[in-house]
């Protein structure tokens, strides 16, 4: 499933707030096209808020999020939905909903009053389910699946949306190691097919391993961004999490690995 069309997403000097409380101020960010970007940082640094801001769930107080150069909040919502998909952290679904039912929701932005369910919609859903390796489970109800399978089903829905941009909010939280790898490898695969991906990742090690580009946040500010092996240093880790560590490089992939992590003295 290749994407001939691409789209760019950027934040320009955005300020995000929950009611009166400002969470992040004056952020500038541009997602590198066709790459996986990971947003990392300590709890409460505003990384999920930033992702929700990019996905237009959160309306910025100041500044603008630009989708292909246009203010995302001025574009028709359905048009945006054809370019940008989000996998939110909360993924509760009505009871009894099957994987196939869920994936069908992904076609919603492409349907209309005069455009009922088409052959193409069906093919796209089938392919999305295949891409997520869920073919054997497509008739199962979501609540009967394991955490990793459920997360893959949700990703399949976002894939069925056929958007050049995909944003994921902590896609592997609450998953065990095996299921984490399952989800991350799916994300890499989608990126190979040409999607631009941004995800909030809790675990710095996974971010280093699976992202092409990293954005480090602390207290609502972006304190650095770049390729993992350039960005991640013991100094950065100390600044983000207040711990000391040493760095080595994974002999298989070359990505940075934190070792000897200890409390700072």
């Amino acid at each position: 499933m290749s994407h001939t069309d691409t789209a760019t997403l950027a934040a320009e000097r955005i300020t995000l707030a929950h009611q009166k409380y400002i969470v992040a101020e004056n952020l500038d960010l541009r997602l590198p096209t066709g790459r996986v970007t990971a947003i990392v940082g300590p709890n409460g640094c505003g990384k999920s808020t930033l992702l929700n801001g990019l996905a237009r769930i959160h309306v910025p107080k100041r500044g603008a999020v630009l989708l292909d150069g246009k203010d995302i909040h001025r574009l028709p919502s359905r048009e945006v939905a054809r370019k940008l998909a989000l996998l939110p952290q909360d993924n509760s679904a009505p009871e009894g909903l099957t994987v196939a039912d869920l994936v069908r929701f992904g076609r919603q932005p492409h349907q209309g009053w005069m455009k009922p369910w088409s052959e193409e919609d069906q093919r796209t859903c089938d392919r999305a389910i295949q891409a997520a390796n869920m073919s054997d489970l497509s008739g199962r109800a979501l609540e009967t699946l394991s955490g990793g399978q459920r997360q893959r089903a949700w990703i399949a829905m976002a894939v069925a949306q056929r958007t050049p941009l995909l944003l994921l909010d902590e896609p592997t939280s609450a998953l065990d190691l095996g299921h984490q790898i399952e989800v991350f490898e799916l994300i890499r695969e989608l990126s190979r097919q040409g999607k631009t991906i941004a995800m909030v990742v809790h675990d710095l090690a996974s971010a280093c391993r699976y992202a092409d580009h990293m954005v480090a946040m602390k207290q609502g500010c972006i304190i650095g961004q770049g390729a993992p092996h350039e960005l991640v240093t013991p100094a950065l880790v100390r600044e983000l999490y207040g711990v000391s560590c040493d760095l080595i490089h994974d002999p298989a992939t070359g990505s940075p690995v934190l070792v000897n992590v200890r409390r700072q003295h």
């Binding site: 996905a55 929701f105 919603q108």
Partner: protein, 335 residues
């Protein structure tokens, strides 16, 4: 290998056809059974005016209007309940339970007994329904409409509205109060032709709009962030859905009074019949009409010649089910 996905369409189609057939049977039964029993064949003939004059009169003049009123109000209540459950993400949040029926009744009674206002009952009922909805959702505010807290505030609102109705009834002559009594528990006796016409028009309009916005409505079953990212303008959709729910409740209450639990039970059953993922609007409406007509039929015939108001029948038959939902050791999630 391409995975084969069974589309929900076929199953839902079958469910809808079966329900429509059942509704037809119930309608014929409601038209033919009563103090005067008429055979189903004669009933059908009487509808076209080609049976004997007696049957013609009973079916067309006496029973048809009641059946139409029951059909429309049952469908409207169930549709309103289905909408409100979806919008509040709370399967107990139906207009009757969160006090909207009671408020609509209070306002309508105000116009009937003439406490300072002279607006037609349906419009007053609408105003009452809108007021109570605004209060219920306003009070929910930050705490949201999920969970039992929202429902119990609704019970409080309902209690106040019920008490206000009692106050008004206690201030008018005892005859007027007695006459209004069956109506305050929900009955098809107090219907006025004008109210039924308004309800019919309102139901038709609401149903058309709902068909149009069914896809965005469906996404509201998913988390807000997902709905937005699927292109749903959730504020607009939610407001429209809520407004339609209020419209349907108000107009229905003006016809039949606060007939409880149809708005809860019909969507509940519809949901289990239809495939998940879609809000069962049509199935709810059909089932609501079936429930209303059946309950009214029971009320008319069980203790004939005495007539039990339909609201009492639905309360007696429906409450045990609601209790069962509430008291099950591990209740399903409220969504």
């Amino acid at each position: 290998m391409t995975p084969h996905i069974i589309t929900p369409d076929k199953r839902n189609m079958a469910v809808h056809l079966a329900l429509a057939g059942l509704l037809l049977l119930v309608c014929i039964a409601a038209l033919s059974i009563g103090t005067v029993r008429i055979s189903p064949q004669d009933t059908l003939r009487a509808l076209t005016g080609s049976a004997d004059p007696m049957s013609n009169f009973v079916v067309r003049e006496l029973r048809l209007a009641r059946v139409v009123a029951g059909l429309l109000s049952g469908a409207a209540l169930a549709l309103a309940g289905c909408l409100m459950q979806t919008l509040a993400r709370n399967r107990l949040a139906t207009p009757g339970i969160i006090g909207i029926d009671n408020a609509a009744t209070a306002f309508a009674v105000a116009s009937v007994v003439g406490v300072g206002v002279s607006v037609a009952p349906p419009l007053m009922a609408l105003a009452g329904a809108a007021t109570a909805t605004a209060i219920a959702f306003g009070l929910a505010g930050v705490q949201g409409t999920r969970g039992y807290r929202f429902i119990v505030s609704g019970i409080g609102i309902g209690a106040i509205a019920g008490a206000v109705t009692q106050v008004m009834l206690s201030r008018v002559a005892i005859d007027a109060a007695n006459a209004a009594y069956p109506w305050t528990v929900g009955s098809l006796n107090a219907r006025a032709e004008q109210s039924v016409l308004l309800l019919g028009a309102g139901l038709a309009i609401a149903y058309l709009i709902l068909l149009n916005i069914r896809r965005p409505l469906n996404t509201l079953q998913l988390p807000d962030a997902t709905a937005i990212s699927l292109g749903t303008r959730i504020k607009t959709t939610r407001f429209l859905g809520l407004a339609l729910s209020v419209l349907l409740t108000g107009l229905a209450v003006a016809v039949c009074g606060p007939v409880g639990l149809i708005a809860l039970l019909a969507p509940e059953l519809a949901r289990s019949l239809c495939r998940p993922g879609r809000i069962p609007l049509t199935a709810s409406a059909l089932l609501g009409a079936i429930f209303m007509l059946t309950a009214d039929l029971l009320g008319r015939t069980l203790f004939a010649p005495l007539e039990v108001p339909v609201g009492i029948i639905t309360a007696i038959l429906g409450s045990p089910y609601l209790l069962w939902i509430l008291l099950r050791p591990s209740p399903r999630s409220l969504t």
